[in-house]
């Protein structure tokens, strides 16, 4: 059952007697869709059952999470423009892909994200200051990975797919039924590490889900430069079943992720999900997509906006009441205010912190440099003696 606490502590048990093994994965170029861009619920003979527990309240809760992370994204972008954050990688347009997948996870599952998965971090229970401080330059990590079972976001493209696979191998050694999920993008599928991860995952049948958000752009390079085939076709050659889902359809994303996680838990091995979505913003706040992207493409995708789509579904169901709208707005406002105040109020690190935690045990090289730099800093506080050189 899904709980309804703004995505926190979400637990999902596989629904009923259905077996993920019965689902026929990867059939042609079909795009799994359970909600049309017009907000109509499309029934599907195999996948409906995987979201049958998602009732009205849960739909509203998903809507809230998606709205809140879009607000986090907008506020963080503003904070960057105001000089409070050094950089920010926007997730605008990818809310359904991030919320639908992360809300399918159990607390004991482990997630290896890339740098753009701030929505996932929010759902997993990261504090807003923890999300902000990496981008402010106050630290290289946000949250304690072991506290919320979410690894420190990876900047080296695709590297984390191997870490997820290794973690899943550890889960197997432990005999646990935890599932592991790796997030990466379309560009990452060209990296050797992602391909090696699929080799290892297939060879050992590791309980890992490769969740690829195909947002169509790797900075300025369109996805066609990365691949001549659909990304969901790539894992087939490794012997890994895959699904191609509408990444702007939160219900489809949930259904596919639940199937994949269930396969992992039941010893079915790895699964690859291509969530077809769109990066509506720049790569980061340092990027200028007008140099390489046709504005018409952006308009096309704006019509398929994941939040707009869910709104239409809620409206059609009569769920988008003033009360719900007000509650969601209040929540988004509060979160944005928290993000802003925790960001601006963040204390700077101390100069000698630069030497901390390079090693877990004392290291003579580091200790000597720390001692010398400490003396250097102290020298500014000492009066200069007359005649001293």
């Amino acid at each position: 059952m899904l709980t309804d606490q703004a995505g926190k502590g979400v637990r999902h048990d596989a629904p009923g007697p259905e077996q993920s093994a019965h689902i026929s994965l990867r059939t042609g170029g079909d795009l799994l869709q359970l909600v049309s861009p017009e907000g109509e619920r499309i029934s599907h003979p195999e996948f409906d059952v995987w979201v049958k527990d998602v009732g009205d309240e849960q739909l509203c809760s998903l809507y809230e999470d998606m709205t809140v992370i879009r607000r986090i994204d907008a506020e963080a972008t503003a904070l960057q423009r105001q000089g409070e954050l050094a950089l920010w990688p926007p997730l605008l347009g990818q809310e359904a892909a991030q919320i639908g997948s992360s809300r399918s996870l159990r607390d004991d599952d482990f997630v290896f994200p890339s740098y753009r998965e701030s929505g996932v971090a929010y759902v997993r229970g990261a504090h807003l200051s923890e999300i902000a401080r990496v981008w402010r330059g106050n630290a290289s990590y946000g949250w304690d990975p072991q506290r919320i079972n979410l690894a420190t976001p990876q900047i080296i493209i695709g590297s984390q797919s191997l870490h997820a696979t290794g973690y899943a191998m550890g889960v197997q050694l432990d005999g646990a039924n935890t599932a592991v999920l790796a997030y990466f993008g379309d560009g990452a599928t060209s990296e050797g590490d992602v391909n090696e991860a699929m080799v290892f995952a297939a060879s050992y049948q590791a309980p890992v889900v490769f969740f690829c958000q195909n947002n169509h752009w790797a900075i300025s390079e369109p996805v066609r430069i990365q691949s001549h085939v659909q990304l969901a076709d790539r894992p087939t050659g490794f012997g890994i079943p895959s699904m191609r889902v509408d990444g702007n359809d939160v219900l489809a994303v949930m259904a596919a992720t639940r199937v994949a996680l269930d396969r992992a838990r039941k010893g079915g091995g790895p699964t690859f999900i291509e969530a077809v979505t769109y990066r509506m913003g720049p790569h980061t706040t340092a990027d200028d997509p007008t140099r390489y992207r046709d504005p018409i493409e952006l308009e096309d995708w704006a019509a398929k906006d994941p939040i707009l789509r869910l709104r239409k579904l809620l409206e059609a169901k009569g769920l988008l009441t003033d009360d719900v709208e007000a509650r969601v707005k209040a929540k988004a406002d509060a979160v944005a205010a928290d993000l802003r105040s925790s960001c601006i109020g963040m204390p700077d690190p101390q100069p000698l912190d630069v030497f901390n935690h390079v090693y877990s045990t004392p290291n003579s090289w580091i200790e000597r440099q720390k001692d010398h730099y400490s003396r250097y800093l102290s020298s500014f506080n000492q009066p200069v003696e007359e005649g001293a050189l």
């Binding site: 990590y141 290794g166 290892f200 877990s360």
Partner: protein, 336 residues
């Protein structure tokens, strides 16, 4: 005390670590039924199972990258890189992930990963099988780098490396794998010399000669030969390349006033350069002459018929000792 080859000594150390800690797993290419191309892991898969001694796909980045994930999960992976020259596909995972994870997460995630690398030349191999890539890793903060020179250290230090909460690159001198030596298998790790210490293996008073890995034996032989000419050479086995145990080297140089460093790796930007600079900074006033480096040339590792010219040997080291002492040597009369 038992007489073991270098390879058997590492094998015994690995076995002990596997016995003592269920979180220790071995990963690598051909390490299972074959026992590794040098047989270092011989018999371990049979005794500990395929789940703890894992034959990996042929993908070095994959081996190290999955080891990172296993470490995240609480395991202590021991990865074998089959040959020194095969480590580069894993370079990104080692440098960007293994080395930096502890710093990145401010200690929340430890990387107790040991990466075993057979290194160095002298076995008549084709290209990519005889390299000495240690300086890439000593230059990378977050890694500990060690090179073993004898079966006892091989046995002890592999266990210390595995027990270390920091990642360790463990370089094994492949041309010494069949050398035999006494190994005390009852040695207590808690009282053994720590992993980051150098040792004086041959005391002397005229020149300090610093070596590590395969050249420690050559250096000791050179010291014996020098003694025949009445020159007293103090040989130091560095053991740890990052960090270097400078107090031991300093104490020796303060006594001898002369320093020779030898390694198989090329000279420019190598460990010898770092040691020469650091010792010059730390005990300039004790030096009677400029530090001397006797190293491999700044060339790609040559084809095997030429490798004896590339590798420092006893005579080249003695020539360097003569230079440090201001005695007649091959470069006498040259300036700079």
């Amino acid at each position: 005390m038992s007489k073991l080859t270098f390879a058997r000594a590492i094998n015994a150390g690995l076995r002990k670590s596997l016995e003592n800690d269920p979180k220790v797993v071995l990963m690598g290419e051909d390490i299972g039924s074959l026992g590794g191309v040098f047989r270092v892991t011989d018999g371990l898969q049979k005794d500990f199972g395929k789940h703890r001694v894992i034959d990996s796909p042929l993908a070095e980045s994959g081996i190290i990258g999955t080891a990172v994930g296993l470490a995240y999960r609480g395991y202590r992976p021991v990865c074998e890189i089959q040959f020194d020259g095969f480590i580069y596909p894993a370079f990104d995972q080692i440098v960007s992930q293994v080395a930096k994870m502890h710093y990145r997460t401010q200690g929340r995630v430890k990387m107790p990963i040991t990466i075993r690398v057979p290194f160095g030349g002298g076995i008549g191999s084709p290209e990519h099988h005889s390299e000495s890539p240690e300086a890439y890793f000593t230059h990378t903060s977050g890694l500990r780098v060690v090179a073993v020179s004898n079966p006892q250290d091989a046995y002890t230090m592999i266990q210390q490396a595995i027990a270390s909460d920091d990642p360790v690159l463990y370089f094994e001198p492949k041309r010494r794998y069949h050398d035999k030596g006494d190994v005390d298998e009852s040695l207590d790790l808690a009282t053994a010399l720590p992993l980051d210490r150098a040792v004086v293996v041959s005391p002397g008073s005229d020149v300090t000669l610093v070596a590590y890995g395969p050249l420690v034996k050559t250096a000791k032989d050179a010291a014996m030969a020098a003694a025949d000419e009445g020159i007293s050479v103090e040989v130091i086995d560095l053991r740890s390349l990052a960090p270097v145990d400078y107090p031991v080297v300093e104490a020796s140089v303060r006594k001898t006033g002369r320093l020779v460093i030898t390694h198989e790796a090329g000279q420019s930007g190598g460990l010898g350069a770092e040691i020469a600079a650091s010792i010059t900074e730390r005990c300039f006033n004790y030096l009677e002459s400029a530090p001397v480096r006797i190293t491999g040339f700044d060339v790609p590792y040559p084809y095997s018929k030429l490798e004896m010219h590339h590798l420092p040997d006893l005579d080249r080291i003695l020539d360097g000792v003569d230079r440090a002492l201001g005695r007649r040597n091959s470069l006498s009369g040259l300036e700079g």
